[in-house]
């Protein structure tokens, strides 16, 4: 470890009390370590101190500081408030927003140690992750999000003034029902601009010149397909079918929506897309932030800027956060992303600095490089949860967590243990855990398959059923009804087995008047 010894500069704070100067001192001390020693690259930070009620407000709006108005946020508020008031649920110590400047809300009732912990965690850990992870860079615009949300809020408010709250609410209800089908899962092809086209053309020519081979000329070209099929293909291409982003499809192709309704679909879609990377990087994001806060707090203690008592208070909270109960423990509620993430970061740092034989065999690229921070920064930048686990989960950690793989087949009477943490199982176990975080498997795969533009304009969707996991029929019908209302004509959803192609179930819905008329 590249520990740099600095002269002691006294404690940052004593006891539990803090004021705004304390927060600034804490932040500056953390920044010194985060930038100087861990090499993090950060958005500017804005720490905002809030009260419990404001934290509940933030909960209701997914943590966003501004959001358009809708009753569902009020419902969420009512539920959280009831839980909180009755004492069933505590409130988070902080909420952090992926924006530039990076907003960190900290609760007023935190002790000074907790403020140090949450600043190290959110203002540095999450902040670095937001700024450097590929997924966030690809899908979100940290500089523009706050302005966009402000625009969305105003736009929805104007629509309510012009067309009435009820009309806007109907569109929002329908759009919310389809929101998880409102994201692009793979990057779309960008509209090419002149410069990049020229560059591509140049590269292609160079490539052809290098690879010229006269033989290719003799290979017969594709035979002409029948004209009808070509026409069909052209139509599907124009409609961009099949299309997994249903909200996008409706926005662009629904025949009877008015412009403001399309814009509202677009707003819901953008907000959902903004949250999409967060769902795919829970383990990494929390692991990164937890690892960073642990490094920073430990260094502060080493530098003598954190008293022993405060450090113990920190360790107490930290241990609670990374606690992972076993599967048979009554407290078990899934794998704790903080626990798994932190354990993996710690493990990677160990492999980089102090590998054993097994590590060298499994991770030849990173074992013993010596610079744990660089290895971690690289991992944080390029991976998402499933690829991160598939790449970095070590046999040693699988043994430590005593992971095992259980198969629950409805057709079988008993559950089967498919793999455990042994020599035969490491790779399969790791793949299974990785699958568990693969968003493509978590969300049902539903796509707009076809539309009958000449006849009754019925929209056809397919759900590709994997592992015989069908949609919950009642809710599926409710969502389909919303979809039909937006489309303006009938809608058919087929559940098709992904392997055999057999149609397992069909749901219908026809449009009600209300949104389009």
């Amino acid at each position: 470890m590249n520990i740099i010894h600095r002269p002691e500069r006294g404690l940052l704070f004593q006891g539990a009390d803090w004021d705004f100067d304390t927060l600034r001192r804490i932040h500056d001390a953390c920044e010194e370590i985060a930038v100087g020693e861990l090499g993090l690259s950060l958005y500017p930070t804005r720490v905002e101190v809030i009260s419990a009620e404001q934290m509940l407000d933030a909960y209701a709006a997914n943590g966003m500081p501004v959001l358009y108005r809708h009753w569902s946020f009020g419902k969420r508020f009512a539920r959280h408030e009831t839980l909180y008031r009755k004492g069933f649920q505590g409130l988070a110590y902080e909420i952090v927003i992926n924006s530039s400047p990076c907003l960190c809300y900290v609760m007023e009732e935190n002790t000074a140690t907790m403020q140090a912990l949450v600043i190290a965690h959110a203002a540095f850990g999450h902040n670095h992750f937001f700024k450097n992870n590929n997924l966030f860079l690809e899908w979100t615009d940290a500089h523009g999000i706050l302005d966009y949300l402000e625009f969305a809020r105003r736009y929805v408010m104007n629509c309510e003034d012009k067309y009435g709250e009820a009309a806007v609410e109907r569109v929002l209800d329908a759009a919310h029902a389809l929101s998880s089908q409102g994201v692009f899962r793979v990057p779309r092809r960008r509209v090419p601009d002149l410069a990049s086209e020229e560059r591509r053309e140049r590269e292609r020519r160079q490539h052809e010149e290098r690879m010229y081979d006269d033989l290719w000329r003799t290979i017969p070209g594709p035979t002409n397909a029948p004209a009808a099929r070509a026409e069909e293909a052209r139509r599907r291409a124009l409609l961009q079918l099949p299309q997994e982003n249903i909200l996008y499809f409706l926005e662009k192709s629904a025949p009877r929506l008015r412009p403001w309704q399309r814009e509202i679909l677009r707003i819901v879609r953008h907000v959902e897309q903004y949250f999409y990377p967060q769902r795919q990087t829970k383990v990494m994001n929390e692991g990164c932030a937890t690892w960073v806060h642990h490094q920073i707090m430990t260094r502060l203690h080493e530098q003598g800027r954190l008293s022993d008592g405060n450090y113990l208070e920190f360790l107490h909270s930290h241990t609670n956060v990374v606690f992972q109960p076993s599967f048979d423990d009554p407290r078990y509620s899934g794998i704790n992303p903080y626990a798994l993430g932190y354990a993996m970061m710690e493990d990677i740092a160990r492999i980089a600095t102090d590998p054993d034989e097994e590590d060298r065999e499994w991770f030849p690229d990173i074992a013993g490089t010596g610079d744990a921070n660089a290895v971690l920064r690289e991992a944080w930048a390029v991976h998402r949860d499933d690829s991160f686990i598939a790449q970095y989960l070590s046999p040693r950690l699988m043994r430590k967590l005593r992971l095992f793989h259980l198969v629950d087949d409805e057709a079988e009477e008993d559950l089967a243990v498919a793999t455990i943490h042994d020599e035969r199982g490491y790779r399969r176990l790791r793949r299974a855990l990785s699958r568990q975080y693969d968003i493509g498997r978590l969300d049902p795969d539903i796509q707009v398959e076809d539309v009958d533009l000449i006849g009754d304009r019925r929209l056809v969707l397919h759900h590709r059923v994997m592992n015989r996991q069908m949609l919950e029929p009642e809710e599926a019908r409710a969502v389909l009804q919303h979809l039909a209302d937006l489309w303006g004509y009938g809608v058919l959803l087929r559940e098709v087995d992904a392997t055999t192609g057999a149609v397992l179930r069909e749901h219908h819905a026809s449009a009600r008047p209300g949104i389009v008329d």
Binding site: I50, S51, A60, W71, F73, R424, Q436
Partner: protein, 431 residues
């Protein structure tokens, strides 16, 4: 880095969303409240409390997979399992995995609303109003009161608004820069200190003190300009008290079931009056062939036998009214419950008492005819018209304040009550 203190921001950021949610759920909450009237005992009704609405009404549906099919779980904490082991399926159907469950952790159970007593009764008694409420406003006499009407520059010393006066004086003193006593003292003290060492400076200071003293004398501590008086103006005060006369036939023909119906009606009326008036009194008068004012317990509980002479009840009521509840000071409501029997010879007398003595002074007279549950036919089509019903029907045409309904089952009480007191009910009968 910036630090922002957001705690000072105005609260209630979610208010608009909460209101939207409540509005959306209101229909369902109202239905739940109305339904709960049938389930709860009358005393519970007043307490408010929780009502449960089905979550389906405020559900946000999403595509998600149902249970079943082939599922995989990777779990921590293996202690004994080896590859190839089988585990009996847990009965709860959860394959030991925590990967299921709605994404935001929200259950799909019914949604509970905690309502305060106020909210509960507001919804419960929504759209109801008391007929002729505006009639009883007394303009002159002892029912009029005074109310505050701001401040005036003139008035009697007893009404001097000290706080306001001193505030005006203070602001005037600050505006005119009247020297403060402490400043003067400090200057004098300074002058004393430098007297020996620097006589010139001391002289200068003293001159300054003298100037300031003159200024102090010129600017008074309190000026007549500052003085303010509290002002009051007389205002008529609507009579905020009501008395409710409960008349009931307790002769042998009234069964326990009928009395229960009557009791429910009285309780609703009482609840309702209490919402509208600051002070509500209840007088219980029961009658057979003679009438008596009794307490509540006796009214509903103790059995009595005898004939039925309705006019005695009105006589008793008029007696009580003259003794304690002057119609000039009280809003008078009468609710009569009976099975409709009356001695035939008494009908004329009853009609006369009602038209001449009772109806002119009361705000509303509700007659509730209770029947046996097992009587056939829908409400309003009783096998025969009773004596009282016939008598009252004749009077009703002349006076809209008389309202009458028939009730046979507990569940009808609330709808009948709503019907009697719904907005515009009196006008409707006039037409």
């Amino acid at each position: 880095m910036q630090i922002v203190d957001r705690r000072l921001n105005p609260g209630g950021k979610s208010l608009a969303n909460r209101q939207r949610f409540l509005r959306r759920a209101k229909e369902m909450v109202r239905d739940a409240v109305r339904n709960s009237a049938g389930e709860r005992s009358m005393r519970d009704l007043e307490r408010g409390g929780e009502v449960t609405i089905p979550a389906s009404g405020v559900k946000e549906p999403h595509f998600h997979r149902s249970a079943g099919g082939l599922r995989e779980h990777v779990l921590p904490g293996n202690k004994e399992y080896l590859e190839g082991d089988t585990i009996p399926r847990p009965r709860s159907g959860r394959g030991g995995g925590g990967s299921q469950g709605s994404p935001d952790g929200e259950g799909e159970d019914a949604f509970r609303f905690a309502l305060t007593q106020e909210e509960f009764l507001d919804l419960f008694l929504e759209d109801l109003e008391l007929p002729e409420l505006a009639k009883k406003r007394v303009v002159e006499g002892d029912a009029s009161g005074v109310r505050r009407a701001g401040f005036a520059t003139q008035g009697s010393p007893a009404n001097l608004a000290l706080g306001r006066t001193m505030r005006n004086a203070l602001s005037r003193r600050i505006a005119l820069r009247r020297p403060k006593a402490e400043e003067l003292e400090a200057l004098e003290e300074a002058a004393r200190r430098v007297e020996d060492s620097d006589p010139l400076k001391a002289e200068e200071l003293r001159a300054q003190v003298a100037r300031m003293r003159t200024r102090t004398l010129r600017i008074p501590y309190i000026d007549p300009l500052d003085v303010r008086y509290r002002q009051f103006e007389p205002a008529p005060r609507p009579i905020a008290q009501a008395v409710m006369f409960c008349l009931m036939d307790v002769s042998g023909s009234m069964t326990e079931g009928m009395k229960d119906l009557a009791k429910r009606f009285y309780l609703l009326l009482h609840l309702f009056l209490r919402r509208r008036y600051r002070h509500v009194e209840v007088v219980f008068i029961r009658h057979t062939h003679e009438a008596k004012e009794v307490d509540e317990e006796t009214f509903f509980r103790s059995p009595e036998t005898g004939g039925t002479v309705v006019s005695t009840a009105f006589e008793e009521m008029i007696k009580v009214m003259e003794a304690r509840y002057s119609p000039a000071d009280w809003n008078i409501y009468v609710a009569q419950a009976s099975d409709g029997d009356n001695t035939t010879a008494d009908n004329d007398r009853t009609a006369h008492l009602l038209t001449d003595r009772v109806l002119p002074v009361c705000q509303y007279f509700a007659y509730l005819e209770v029947g046996r549950e097992d009587d056939g036919g829908p409400i309003g089509f009783m096998p025969r018209e009773t004596e009282l019903w016939r008598t009252y029907t004749k009077l009703r045409a002349a006076d809209p304040r008389l309202a009458m309904r028939k009730v046979r089952h507990r569940k009808d009480i609330y709808p009948v009550f709503r019907e009697l007191f719904r907005k515009g009910a009196v006008e409707g009968q006039k037409a």
